[in-house]
Structures are given as C-alpha cells and as structure tokens.
C-alpha cells in the first residue's frame, strides 16, 4: 500500500487494552494490519491505516474496541444528505434505506 494512505487525524478508533482477552479476532479481521498481538493481548500498531470499517468492533465481544464505522465513500455520503436518518452505507438501491449502490442509482459496489 505504498503511497496509498489516507487522512489519519480524524480516525475514531478507540481500543481499551484492559478489556482485551487476547482472542485475536481483531488481528484476523482487520484488512489493514491495525492490530497485532503483543504478548497475550492485542495492541494497535497502525491506527492511521484504520478505514473505520467496523469489523474489529463487531467481532470483539468484550467491548474493547469502539469505532464510529461507515463507508469512506463520497457518493454514499452525498446520498445520505438526501435521505432521512442520513445513514452512510452501501447496499442495494431498492431497499428503503438505500445507499449509493444498487439498482435504482449508480454507485461503486
């Protein structure tokens, strides 16, 4: 990913090492190597690479990880301006809370 890093100072990822039990799931699901095992607990080694996908937090049953997750997609954010609730997400366009992707509009997925 040389040359491919994004804005790092607004990342919302928070990790509470005291709640970590060392199950390793976060190190397996993160697509950008943000977590590695440090002894018998996880540790954050590259917070700036986080893309806020939320996979780690969803798979951490111990609540050690918090992140305001969503898609880093300008088209989805623009679509959310025009939608009640304003959820920023991908998904089929024919669902009630459609994202930018799907059959009723153009998109990226």
């Amino acid at each position: 990913m040389a040359g491919l890093r994004y804005l790092e100072d607004v990342i919302t990822l928070q990790f509470d090492v005291d709640k970590c039990t060392g199950c390793q799931l976060c190190t397996q699901v993160c697509p950008h190597g943000v977590f590695v095992m440090g002894g018998n607990r996880a540790k954050v080694v590259d917070r700036g690479a986080c893309m806020e996908c939320g996979a780690c937090a969803l798979n951490c049953v111990f609540g050690a990880i918090e992140v305001q997750s969503g898609v880093g997609c300008a088209a989805a954010i623009i679509a959310s301006y025009f939608r009640r609730g304003g959820e920023v997400s991908c998904g089929p366009g024919d669902t009630a809370d459609a994202g930018s992707c799907g059959s009723s509009s153009g998109g990226c997925c």
Binding site: G3, R5, L7, L25, L58, G72, A74, I77, P92
Partner: protein
C-alpha cells in the same frame, strides 16, 4: 427423502452442470472452469451493464463431489464473485454456501449488513447445512467481517467461523495449509491491476453527466452578441466538449491509474492536479483559437470536474475512512462549487470575448 423445509438453489441455472444427492435433497454442482458465457457476463458488468441484476440463487452449491467432511466456503450471490471463487477450486471437493446479498459483492454487502450475521445464520438453517456436513466450520471471507459477528454465529448455529483470505485466489493455499491465513492473505491492497479493472465502471457512472455537460456547453455556446448564433455554438463546441472529456478522463481514468503517485492524500486534490494537466493540454491544443474566456471556462471545468470524479473514487478505493472522506468533502466541496459557478460565468462571457 428431500426435506421440505430446506430451500435449494435452482438446478436449471445455466452454470449448473449436475447435482449431488444429500439428506436435504439434490444440491447443484458447479464446474471450476468458466464458460465463454460466464466470461462475457463478467465482462459486461465490469462496464456497468446489468450490474445489479447479475445474481444467482442463494443457498448451497457443490464443487466436485464433496462429502460430509468437505469444507464449506461462504460467499455472496453476485455472480462475478461466485465465479471468482469457484474457478480457484479446481480438483477440490467443496461446498459453497451462497448468501443473498442482492447481487452485491462481499465487502460492500458486509458494510451494508446484507452479508451479515442474520443472513448467514438463516442461510445455514434454510440450507439444512447441519444435515449435509458433520463438521462445524464455516470459511467466511475476511472482508465479510464488517457484517458478520463470528461469536454470534457460533452461538446461534453451532458453526464456528474461520476467517478465510481476503482474495479468492489465496483459497487453494489457505485450504492446503490447514486453514491458516498468512499476513499477506489478510491484507487489503490496491495495486495498479485492481485499479485499472475498476476504471470502466467508474467512467460509465459519470458518462451521462459528462455528456449532459458537453451538450449544455454546446447549446449555450451560441449565446453572445445578437443573442444567439448557431455558427458561434458550432465554433465553440470543440472547446466545450474538450473540457468535459478532459474532466472525465482526468478524474476517472488518470487519477485512479496514477493514484499512489499523484501528490496529496485527498482524492479531490489528486483529481484537481490531474485535471490541471488536462486544462493545460486543452489550452495548448486550442492556442490559436483566439477564445481566451472559453478556454479558461473549459480549463476550470476540467479541474473541478476531475476533482469531483476523483472524490467519488474514494468509495471504490480500499483504504478511505468515513470520517476522512467527510473531512475531505467539507474542505473541497465549497471550492468545487465556486469553480462550477466560475466555469459557467466564463463560458457565457466567452460568447462575447
């Protein structure tokens, strides 16, 4: 005796070559070689044709002649995804459990939650998977983790999720090494090849908008002294069209292709830089046209149009965050709006000067 509560994918789908009998009834068998028809379908959706109806029936499929001990791979019902998975499985006996993501790929569908815990749990049950296999392991692609909570799947089905590799091409090595993924298999990248394959659909998405801008420029190009002149519209048309073409090429072809090498982290700024190069080319090409304001308008449009197109590539890329993109949009969209007003003003004024 087929189980009436089990729903199975259709055996009449064109890529199904046979069926295998299980306790739940006949399960469709699919080959690992793609036919010309599969390839043509994949090619079409890469250009954006019928992309949202390129689906297959969800449910359980078989590759080779799997037994109750064979691994179960989970994937999405976007046919391009399904084909990418099955072609890596030559010579293997494997079950493939296809979730209903409404024809969206695994990662995007997981972000939405359609490739998610609930769908996986209900698909395991409706496919009668516990009657087909005697083990309790589901290989779920790692990028599905945005929607699938492995601990919950275990609690609700008894099946344990093993996170598979990011890329289907790593499946053979993953399966051969006792389902262990190397750090390389876990890492999302965005190499040139992956960026290039996304360009057609990216350009196709904004093609109509670009054509509308070009048409608008040609029609309004006639405005000037004496109100309207078709001759003037035709004379200025090449400059207006060049501005629109430069914007789409710079924003959706050049910027994605050269992404790591164009300076600045914000995509919109990368796009503006590429657009600036396009603007310079237009000005060189029409140097002798004697239409300074029209050229300025086309140049400004090339910059902001490219900037906007590149900004939309954030969603296609594999490493941008929600809060990063929000920040970028807050910073650049006012400038894009100012540029749009400026381009229109310059273009209209260009009818006089």
């Amino acid at each position: 005796m087929p189980d009436s509560k089990v729903t199975r994918p259709g055996l009449d789908q064109p890529f199904v070559t046979g069926s295998i009998d299980t306790l739940t009834g006949p399960v469709p068998v699919v080959p690992t070689e793609l036919t010309w028809r599969d390839r043509r379908g994949g090619y079409k959706v890469r250009w954006g044709f019928g992309r949202y109806s390129y689906t297959i029936d969800p449910g359980l499929y078989a590759v080779g002649s799997p037994s109750d001990l064979s691994p179960v791979l989970v994937t999405a019902n976007y046919k391009l995804t399904f084909d990418t998975v099955r072609r890596t499985l030559a010579g293997r006996d494997v079950w493939i459990l296809v979730l209903d993501t409404r024809g969206i790929n695994v990662w995007c569908a997981a972000g939405k939650g359609t490739f998610g815990t609930d769908e996986l749990v209900s698909r395991v049950k409706s496919a009668g998977l516990a009657q087909v296999v005697s083990h309790e392991i589901l290989v779920v692609p790692q990028l599905g983790a945005t929607g699938v909570a492995a601990p919950q799947v275990r609690g609700r089905t008894g099946f344990r999720v093993v996170w598979g590799p990011v890329r289907a091409t790593d499946l053979p090595e993953f399966l051969d090494s006792n389902m262990r993924a190397t750090p390389e298999m876990r890492a999302v990248t965005f190499p040139l090849r992956d960026r290039l394959v996304l360009i057609p659909v990216e350009a196709a998405n904004v093609l109509k908008l670009t054509a509308a801008v070009a048409a608008g420029a040609v029609v309004t190009g006639g405005i000037g002294p004496g109100w309207y002149s078709i001759a003037r519209a035709l004379e200025r048309a090449p400059i207006g069209i060049a501005g629109a073409v430069a914007a789409i090429v710079a924003g959706t072809v050049v910027t994605p292709a050269l992404l790591p090498w164009i300076p600045c982290r914000m995509f919109a700024v990368k796009g503006a830089i590429a657009g600036l190069a396009g603007a310079l080319l237009i000005n060189l090409a029409f140097l002798g046209a004697g239409a300074p304001l029209s050229l300025a308008a086309a140049g400004v449009f090339a910059v902001i149009g490219s900037s906007f197109g590149a900004m939309n590539f954030t969603g296609t890329s594999t490493f941008t965050s929600l809060h990063g993109v929000e920040k970028e949009m807050r910073l650049v969209m006012p400038w894009q709006a100012i540029g749009a007003v400026l381009a229109v003003g310059l273009w209209i004024a260009g009818g006089w000067y």
